[in-house]
């Protein structure tokens, strides 16, 4: 069901930014863990992995037990070990930070245990006895995969509808390749689907090939895990020139195929979020000599992580703070970007216009929302473009649940995993008659 990946892709040029731990190093690191009571790292993990416990099991060379502890909490534990911003989650909350000692390398330890599990082909979970209930999941990204796996453990049949030919969502098509490459993400998809009973239908667009009403009629519950839409645009003159792309769309092509960057000497990424930071680091890593990030705010207010900015700057990325692009120009394709400086209230400063050369411009200023898909679908409501859900992932329309980027405006894989699992529990509670959400 997964379209085969070309072996030669732009992303394969990257090495891992954080190197894997070998067994001996993992055991040394694991032995540093204090095994905190009521540990802060668990609280900082959206999927609440029992981190001290899985680390203790590494220390005793009980790697299988360690991996089981991780996957029991988060079936996407292998990818999360690579892509989680641990600096602001588990690792950031490690008590060693307060002792001014290096915090435990939780992400790398998790990668060690989960990689061994994959290598060894260990399976920890079995599908539950068939309940006769059927659940549809829209989108084949982390949220739906986590939800479907959990639903299968309860014994409910699952069908995932994915509009692309590639399964795995942004884990396959969006993650920075120095964290994880698409083939590894697809290993994970196969690993998750190996529980059996998850029918993945790719190339299916809801509203085109199947209607919401069809889903509601044919399934006992529906999980919406559609993520976000296409890259937003500025609406500035010249934006349609060749060489101006949405960052998410460009990253997907870079990960899944081969881009020719040989003629790109200068690139600009517009935005101050983590997609922008990924894009600038990727451009530098692919050999673009001059990469500039253009952000309308100050450093203090950017939504991108400080540790990612520091890495980008150490890799030679320039940043133009408090600046906006007003027009793109060039002969045949983009060559120049007209820019303006902004004051602290984000108003243009008179006489501050400047021009930067760029052969490639990526727009990382957000992604469109998918409200239109559910227009007039009573009970599935939106709040600032995000599907509104309660703390169980329930939308308000009987049988309809949601999670992941479409409900949280684009957080991390680990949030999607947590929200998918949470919704699966809520769906099961209703389908098994244990509980009614309303």
């Amino acid at each position: 069901m997964n379209a085969p990946l070309p072996t030669n892709r732009s992303e394969t040029a990257f090495e891992d930014f954080k190197l894997p731990l070998l067994r001996d190093a993992a055991i040394v690191e694991a032995n540093r863990c204090l095994f905190c009571h009521d540990a802060p790292c668990i609280k900082a993990c959206p999927t609440a992995i029992d981190i001290p416990q899985f680390i203790r099991k590494i220390a005793t060379d009980n790697i299988r037990g360690s991996a089981k502890t991780i996957f029991e909490a988060n079936i996407l534990g292998m990818s999360c070990a690579r892509v989680c911003p641990v600096e602001v989650l588990c690792v950031g909350s490690c008590v060693y930070n307060d002792l001014e000692q290096p915090p435990i390398a939780i992400g790398r330890l998790q990668r060690f245990a989960t990689d061994v599990a994959y290598e060894q082909g260990w399976k920890f979970f079995q599908a539950g006895a068939d309940t006769g209930k059927r659940v549809a999941l829209i989108g084949a990204g982390p949220a739906s995969l986590a939800a479907a796996h959990e639903l299968r453990r309860f014994g409910h049949a699952c069908t995932i509808f994915e509009k692309r030919t590639t399964v795995g969502g942004l884990n396959s098509a969006g993650v920075a390749p120095y964290k994880m490459k698409a083939d590894r993400a697809m290993n994970e998809v196969d690993w998750i689907l190996s529980i059996g009973g998850i029918d993945v239908r790719t190339g299916i667009t809801i509203g085109e090939h199947i209607s919401l009403a069809d889903l509601e009629r044919d399934f006992d519950a529906v999980f919406i895990g559609v993520g976000l839409g296409v890259d937003s645009t500025l609406g500035a003159p010249g934006e349609s020139l060749e060489g101006v792309h949405g960052a998410v769309e460009w990253i997907e092509r870079m990960k899944l195929g081969m881009l020719d960057l040989s003629k790109i000497g200068r690139a600009m990424v517009i935005g101050g979020g983590n997609t922008a930071l990924d894009a600038v680091r990727e451009l530098r890593g692919l050999g673009v000599a001059n990469v500039t990030m253009l952000y309308r705010g100050r450093r203090e207010v950017m939504s991108g992580y400080v540790h990612e900015l520091a890495a980008a700057q150490s890799e030679g990325v320039a940043v133009e703070w408090q600046s906006v692009a007003t027009a793109f120009a060039g002969e045949g394709r983009v060559q120049r970007v007209s820019c303006l400086r902004l004051d602290d209230a984000k108003r243009p400063i008179a006489g501050s216009a400047f021009t930067l050369e760029a052969d490639l411009v990526l727009m990382a200023i957000g992604q469109s929302k998918l409200n239109a898909m559910f227009a007039g679908f009573h009970g599935v409501e939106f709040d600032h473009g995000q599907i509104r859900v309660n703390h169980h992932g329930f939308t308000g329309r009987k049988g309809w649940y949601a999670g992941g980027d479409c409900t949280n405006d684009g957080k991390e894989v680990v949030n999607a995993a947590a929200e998918g699992k949470r919704a699966a529990h809520a769906i099961d509670a209703v389908l098994s008659g244990a509980h009614h959400h309303a």
Binding site: N31, C36, H37, D38, A39
Partner: protein, 426 residues
Amino acid sequence: MPNLRPSLATNTGGIASPNPFWLASAPPANSGRQIQRAFEAGWGGAVWKTLGVPIQNVSSRFGGHTIHGVRGAGFTNIELITDRSLEVNLREITETKRLFPKNPIIVSLMVETESQWREIIAQSIDAGADGLELNFGCPHGMCERGMGSAVGQEPAVNERITGWAVKYSTVPVLVKLTPNVSNIVPHGLAAKRGGAHGVSLINTIKSIVSVDIDRFVPEPRVATKSTNGGYCGSAVKPIALHMVASLAREKDFGLPISGIGGVSNWRDAVEFILLGSSTVQVCTEVMLRGYGVVEDMIDGLEEYMRTHGFTSIAQMVGKAIPNFSEWGDLDLNYETVAKIDADKCIGCQLCVAACHDGAHQCIHPQENTRVPRIDESECVGCNLCQIVCPVTNCIEMVQVSNGHAPASWNDFATQGAPLRPKKGAH
């Protein structure tokens, strides 16, 4: 504070040494070239690996005990006495003595009959031995042949053989004692009755260090079998300290002691000296890290002595013995409670888990802070929280006044001295 440079020179039973750090009779003291390198590195003396009738060894011979990732925290061996010829050993003793005249060489010996003892003692002294150490401690291989710990476990045999050695020796005789006994004191007293000039303890502890859980064979594995070995290394230090101190405080004993058992650094050495040792012997730490560890032992000891105003080792020997008491003489009315320094606390709450699951349930999590709260009315002052706390000086055990005069169990039992109310006993 006096700023005199302390002297590390010491003497055990008439064997003078430039510092208290000796290589124990073991693989690091197996050959002349090794011991010469050790002296170059700074070791004060060396106890030559036991001479006797050369034996045949097995492979493998050693086993390590990894504790929470620390390799060799405990160690075991099933190696026997020297497997080199007597002639070679004696020649190398002479050569080493010639190169390092100020560093004592104590020759460890283990043979069976009186005539064998007489002969090997004469040969050792002729070769240049500054002292002899009678190996009455080896717990494997030799004891089955009526030597080693088979001697050390029988006070009468110990006394008789010690008597032979003293009779034939013109240099001081130390008796090396085995810890594989229920009470060390009768064995030290037997050595004394035999005329020994001092004792060395402890030898290694009978042990199985680990089991190969895939092959179902204890370790160290020799083909398909193993046997009991001698346990040593850092892990045995508490047992060794207790045995050294038990002899040191025995009023009928009074012989010099060379302390052995898990000495890994200057701090361990200070502890052995304060409990009555005038020299310490080291094996495992050298096996794990090499002779270079002695530099820090010397530096650290010297700095400790300077800090405490000691100018000689003799001033330190046995300094803690008067405070090594019987339980019945401890003050039952002395009361401490734990105090957490909130500024230092990192919120790991190891103390919460330890107190709740392993002690008296008096340390509690609090709302809105990771710093736990100690219910002092329930705290028995057990130390567990302080032991598990990863932050130095974050938890302190503080004495509290309860208005009761000091009273020991013996005071209570004999004079009915009033005791404070119990805590945590409900």
